[in-house]
């Protein structure tokens, strides 16, 4: 194996917090190399604080140490810089993290909060015109009932175990953060999407709207959608017209937001 490759492998170990072969890189050289690791962690720390502002609110007392551990444990495998922050929720869910900070009593929903915060960035990475959404301020659903309609790529659907929308609302407020264990397990389904104005927003989904979204993700036409919906929720003939009107209103809303396209 080439000498330079061996040296670089040891550098990699050092950056991952692993034991380094000091016959290849001396302690003194490691000391000098620490400048680079320190700079890398500094930069990551700043970026992670931007990406996870609400997690930061909770973790700030141990933030520096946490990001250091994260950097070592989840090195980036992507050339896209902000992807280095991608695995933070996995890191927070990890047993090692929970054990190390057991006395801090961090809330159990912390990793779900991180997932929620990351998805904003993930969606932001889809350029407006790159995912097929209409840029036109189209507020009507012009598709015929046979035409294929589907959601654009700029959305994610999440099923959380905790009421993340309420947690986010609470943490985002100016008020002091109170007892975080207040939030109990409550299943919550969210459609998180990028709207026409390039803002990331969400809809809280009921069972009905979740089903609707599920069908729209893979693409369907309106006639088919109504039929499936009636069957799934056993809608009686008497209620069908009212239900269809409500569904139509939802589809118009999605169209207005630029997340529904037709072919």
């Amino acid at each position: 194996m080439a000498k330079l490759h061996r040296i670089q492998e040891e550098i990699k170990k050092y950056f991952m917090g692993k034991k380094v072969n000091t016959r290849i890189i001396s302690q003194e050289q490691l000391r000098e190399l620490s400048i680079y690791k320190s700079l890398a962690i500094d930069t990551l720390r700043g970026m992670m604080r931007k990406i996870y502002p609400l997690c930061y609110k909770i973790l700030q007392d141990n933030w520096n140490e946490i990001i250091h551990s994260y950097y070592e444990k989840y090195p980036s495998t992507s050339s896209v810089y902000n992807q280095a922050a991608k695995n933070f929720s996995v890191f927070l869910k990890d047993w090692d993290f929970r054990w190390k900070y057991r006395e801090e009593n961090y809330p159990k929903w912390l990793y779900e909060l991180a997932e929620y915060e990351w998805v904003e960035v993930d969606l932001y990475n889809y350029y407006r015109d790159g995912y097929g959404g209409s840029k036109k301020d189209d507020d009507t659903l012009k598709s015929s009932k046979e035409e294929l309609i589907r959601l654009t790529k700029a959305h994610k659907v999440y099923r959380f175990d905790y009421p993340i929308s309420k947690i986010v609302e609470h943490l985002s407020s100016e008020k002091q953060v109170y007892n975080l264990s207040y939030f109990k397990k409550t299943k919550e389904k969210l459609l998180i999407f990028r709207d026409r104005t390039d803002h990331i927003r969400y809809f809280l989904l009921s069972d009905g709207s979740y089903y609707l979204i599920d069908k729209l993700r893979s693409g369907t036409n309106i006639n088919e959608l109504y039929k499936k919906f009636h069957r799934k929720f056993a809608i009686t003939d008497a209620d069908k017209q009212g239900t269809e009107e409500k569904l139509n209103d939802l589809l118009i809303k999605f169209t207005k937001e630029g997340i529904l396209t037709s072919s």
């Binding site: 194996m1 080439a2 000498k3 330079l4 040296i7 670089q8 492998e9 550098i11 990699k12 950056f15 991952m16 890189i25 050289q29 000098e32 190399l33 620490s34 400048i35 680079y36 690791k37 320190s38 700079l39 890398a40 962690i41 500094d42 930069t43 700043g46 970026m47 931007k50 990406i51 090195p75 980036s76 495998t77 992507s78 050339s79 896209v80 810089y81 902000n82 280095a84 904003e120 960035v121 932001y124 990475n125 889809y126 350029y127 407006r128 015109d129 790159g130 700029a154 929308s165 309420k166 609302e169 026409r196 104005t197 803002h199 927003r201 809809f203 809280l204 009905g208 709207s209 939802l250």
Partner: protein, 416 residues
């Protein structure tokens, strides 16, 4: 990937187009740049834009859309990467290891923006699948020259474009150097037959951190290979939070250019014939606003204009219709503050940035949320902290007053 042994012509600068003065494109200043370019004035300050290509090859993204408006204005885009990692040594000699997902994305982007060349740093930012998020220096060894030259040859073959590497700023030697930095750089230029992106600020930062004469270093380089120049700012001091190890100055791209770096720039362009000069700024955009960057660009323009006999020749010779210049007007007026630029500055009132927050939606009586990410920039790149070190070579010539000044500045930093 096996190396193809293709005979390669050395980079021919005369065939490369002249681009003039440019600015680093960052999302934070996108609006300001576009507003500035829309002004009905001769564009002498932003004649081209440099992009960090890794930021524009996202999944689902269509890179050209983002730049359509800029390209329609006739402003060329030149890519400058951070993750090609030309200093990465493969496990097995002659079996190169690249991130082909990255290469494919870059190739598509380069074709779409019609890149005239591409560049990256003389460093290692990846080993295997592991990205460091930092530019790690490469030792000045014969083996490293071979590795880097092989990598560059492959990349030029893959992209079918000329490649330039940037001399890094570096803070330590990871292994004992076998040669001086200038020898190392010249050897790579010769072996890889590529061009050089000379970062003048990096030369200055290294000269202070490693106590050598920056002009001497410049003199030792093969300046005929300088295609592009980077200019940027730095700040004093940095201490490793891990070991307490300290350095004197840090390349940050977050501050205004130091006066000494500008003087060094003047010296460089007197002796080289760059095709493009760039102001790099990655952070601290709010300090002086976009006007602050315009002021910085004016400093560079002023120095470039003082070398009229070269720059003007190039613009006329290459018939750069798209690169408008007021050089003719300023031909006889290089001694005073540039009046044309002052006029531009007066017109360039800062734009008020408004944000459309949109309305909340109402769906099935459920609560909704809205998160404003419109102004956040997640494309932050690692600070351009590289390495280098070199024993100060004995000055060949008698010190000029500028060299003495730089020496004393070095002392000033060392005293901090």
């Amino acid at each position: 990937m096996q190396i193809t042994n293709v005979a390669k012509e050395s980079v021919d600068k005369s065939k490369l187009k002249y681009f003039g003065l440019g600015l680093g494109y960052r999302r934070e200043i996108r609006k300001d740049i576009i507003e500035y370019l829309e002004k009905p004035i001769p564009q002498t300050l932003i004649q081209w834009l440099e992009i960090v290509p890794e930021n524009y090859i996202y999944k689902g993204g269509h890179p050209l859309k983002q730049f359509e408006e800029i390209l329609e204005m006739g402003i060329p885009l030149i890519p400058h990467g951070v993750n090609l990692s030309i200093g990465s040594a493969p496990k097995h000699k002659k079996k190169l290891e690249f991130d082909f997902h990255l290469l494919r994305g870059l190739k598509k982007l380069f074709e779409e923006i019609k890149a005239p060349w591409f560049s990256d740093h003389l460093s290692c930012s990846r080993i295997g699948q592991h990205y460091f998020q930092e530019l790690i220096p490469v030792p000045f060894t014969k083996e490293a020259i071979d590795v880097i030259a092989d990598n560059i040859k492959f990349l030029e073959d893959y992209f079918q474009l000329p490649f330039l590497f940037e001399n890094p700023s570096y803070y330590s030697h990871i292994v004992k150097p076998e040669m001086r930095e200038s020898t190392f750089i010249n050897s790579i230029l010769k072996k890889a037959k590529c061009g050089l992106l000379l970062d003048v600020n990096n030369v200055f930062v290294n000269s202070v951190n490693h106590r050598y004469l920056p002009k001497q270093f410049i003199d030792d380089l093969d300046l005929s290979k300088v295609v592009q120049i980077h200019m940027a700012g730095h700040k004093k001091g940095y201490k490793s939070k891990l070991t307490g190890h300290e350095i004197k100055i840090l390349d940050t791209h977050g501050e205004n250019m130091h006066e000494r770096v500008l003087e060094l720039f003047q010296y460089v362009i007197k002796n080289s014939r760059p095709k493009a000069v760039l102001l790099e700024r990655d952070s601290n955009f709010d300090d002086e606003g976009f006007e602050g960057l315009v002021d910085e660009l004016k400093k560079l323009r002023f120095i470039m204009d003082s070398k009229l006999e070269f720059f003007q020749d190039k613009e006329q010779e290459e018939g750069e219709a798209s690169v408008e210049s007021t050089m003719d007007e300023k031909k006889d007026d290089t001694s005073l503050a540039n009046p044309a630029l002052e006029t531009n500055a007066a017109k360039a009132a800062p734009e008020e940035i408004t944000m459309d927050t949109g309305d909340n939606l109402d769906l099935s009586s459920n609560p909704q949320g809205e998160m404003d990410y419109a102004n956040m920039d997640f494309s932050a790149m690692p600070g351009m902290h590289n390495l280098d070190a070199e024993q100060a070579p004995a000055p060949k010539k008698e010190k000029s007053s500028l060299e003495n000044d730089i020496d004393s500045l070095g002392q000033e930093f060392m005293d901090i």
